[in-house]
């Protein structure tokens, strides 16, 4: 699953690093590092992390293959490919 974080929006709340620590890590106090391609086994963690981001900065492709309408990025559609 591909993902990207809009680091202009990111304000280092670290919810993602808490909820999906295999994908997101804090680097220093505020900077975020993430793995841009997560394994399918991390889907549930990623879904929680994207939903919990207070500034909705995380866009994940193929997060919820069945929902279609409003998965990742909060308000943004991510229908997979």
């Amino acid at each position: 699953m591909r993902l990207v974080v809009d680091l202009n929006r990111c304000q280092g709340y670290a919810q993602c690093a808490f909820l999906a620590h295999d994908v997101f890590t804090m680097h220093g106090d505020e900077a975020l590092l993430y793995n841009p391609q997560a394994d399918a086994g991390q889907r549930e963690q990623l879904r929680r992390a994207a939903a919990a981001c207070p500034v909705q900065a995380i866009l994940v492709e193929g997060l919820d293959e069945t929902a279609g309408a409003h998965p990742a990025h909060g308000e943004e559609a991510s229908r997979g490919r």
Binding site: L7, C10, Q11, H27, G28, E30, L33, A72, R79, R81
Partner: protein, 463 residues
């Protein structure tokens, strides 16, 4: 055919071609489909890869925390496009509305979006640039090669240029325990984008982390061994640096050569366009079927005196692509201006650096929160009595507030006391930007006049 019917036809069965298959190209393609464009869509890219994200290449990829071939960008939706990857566009015939490709093919369009971005400025001496171990960092392949060489444990890396990319590379090297020398022509790192006050902080940060930082010097030549591997560099102060990897990080140049004879207003400083992303032709007349987005575009910003801004910013590429795509399939009255407030980030030496507005326009800077010595602060830039930009080091949550200050042309210095204001915040200091008439490695924001065909912007190694 009147305008409305023509637009309806375009939206239903027109042909849109996007040249440039990176962040801006992809987001534009997705937006066109979201806007209901049902015609044919072609994306042309000179790299063989589908669109990928670049910021991780100088950060987690060099740290070995993500692989260079795994930064492909997520899709917001299927752009339902024909992809022509691995083939560069070589020419544009505006009268016939055709794009020429390197493989001899031609692609016809009704609307064209140019998003060809920038490429790194190469080391000016070609035979030295070809030495084994000399790198630039822009593409996924370059990041993969540099990462693999760093993993072999070089004795020393020399980074030429201490802008954001150069500083991030130096940071990754130190984190991997690799000895690194940074050579910068200006008096400090990051001065082109953030000025000397912040540059001093960046310099201290690098030295504390063990970077051998040399400022106010030029690299005059690179030297290889008999096997053609780079071995050392000579500096303008007479010193020599032994290094087995050299990363040339001297800023970027815009990919516009393929447009040289097209009649489009394209030059080394980018392609000028109006606030609605419509490109100007060489006469300065706006076109109605050629649009521009991303790093290669230069457009006037009402908030900054209608100066033409050329921004190598991730968020600008996304926002401008969305506006361009919307305007490509919209009638005049429904078109929107691109009025994104410039913003960028960097992370280096464990510090999160973020900025909004146009700091390089700033005459003065006030540390409104935190303290420079703690590497945790907010700096506000003032220009003619108003707030024009802000930078934070590990203080990003304040930026949205300062963005609103910039948008509302709030007075500078701020007339209110701020939370966590220290002695640094009592009075503004000169922001200390270098004299713009003296060339540097190039700031990430360049401001310029009206002549896109002007060829005077040439990188000149100093004396």
């Amino acid at each position: 055919m009147d305008g409305d019917r023509q637009l309806e036809w375009l939206r239903r069965e027109g042909r849109i071609v996007i040249v440039g298959a990176s962040l801006a190209g992809l987001r534009a393609a997705e937006t066109l489909r979201e806007e209901g464009f049902a015609g044919s869509l072609t994306l042309i890219g000179d790299e063989p890869y589908e669109p990928y994200d670049r910021p991780p290449l100088s950060k987690q990829v060099l740290l070995g925390k993500a692989a260079a071939d795994r930064t492909a960008l997520p899709r917001r939706r299927d752009p339902d496009a024909q992809w022509r990857l691995g083939v560069a566009a070589t020419g544009l015939d505006m009268a016939a509305r055709r794009v020429q490709l390197a493989d001899g093919d031609e692609v016809a369009y009704d609307r064209l979006l140019i998003a060809t971005g920038v490429r790194p400025r190469p080391w000016p001496n070609q035979s030295e640039a070809e030495l084994d171990g000399v790198f630039v960092l822009r593409t996924r392949d370059e990041a993969a090669r540099l990462h693999s060489r760093l993993a072999q444990g070089p004795r020393r890396v020399l980074v030429i240029g201490a802008g954001f990319t150069g500083s991030e590379i130096a940071s990754a090297c130190r984190e991997r325990g690799i000895a690194v020398t940074v050579a910068e022509r200006a008096a400090a790192p990051l001065v082109g984008a953030l000025g000397g006050v912040i540059g001093d902080v960046a310099a201290q940060m690098q030295r504390e982390q063990g970077v051998d930082l040399r400022c106010g010097v030029m690299v005059t030549s690179l030297e290889g061994d008999s096997a053609g591997r780079v071995r050392s560099a000579h500096l303008s102060d007479g010193a020599a640096v032994e290094a087995d990897i050299v990363v040339v990080s001297l800023g970027a140049t815009r990919n516009t050569e393929w447009l040289a004879r097209s009649g489009l207003g394209a030059g080394p400083r980018g392609i000028a366009c109006d606030a609605g992303c419509r490109a100007f032709d060489i006469r300065g007349i706006v076109t109605d079927d050629v649009f521009v987005a991303g790093d290669v575009a230069r457009s006037p910003h009402p908030l900054f005196g209608y100066q033409f801004l050329s921004l190598e910013h991730w968020g600008n590429a996304v926002s401008q692509a969305e506006i361009a795509a919307h305007n490509m399939v919209s009638a005049g009255a429904d078109r929107r201006p691109h009025m994104w407030v410039p913003a960028f980030w960097s992370s280096q030496f464990g510090v999160n650096i973020k900025s909004v507005g146009v700091p390089s326009m700033g005459e003065e800077i006030l540390i409104s929160q935190g303290a420079l010595a703690e590497r945790r602060f907010t700096g506000v830039y003032g220009y003619q009595g108003r707030v024009i930009g802000a930078v934070t080091f590990d203080n990003a949550r304040w930026l949205p507030f300062y963005q609103r200050q910039i948008e509302s042309t709030a007075p500078f210095p701020p007339p209110f006391p701020t939370l966590d204001m220290r002695s640094d915040g009592q009075r503004p200091l000169p922001a200390d930007f270098p004299d713009p008439s003296v060339p540097t490695h190039g700031p990430t924001v360049t401001l310029g006049g009206y002549s896109p065909a002007d060829r005077r912007m040439v990188f000149t190694p100093g004396r």
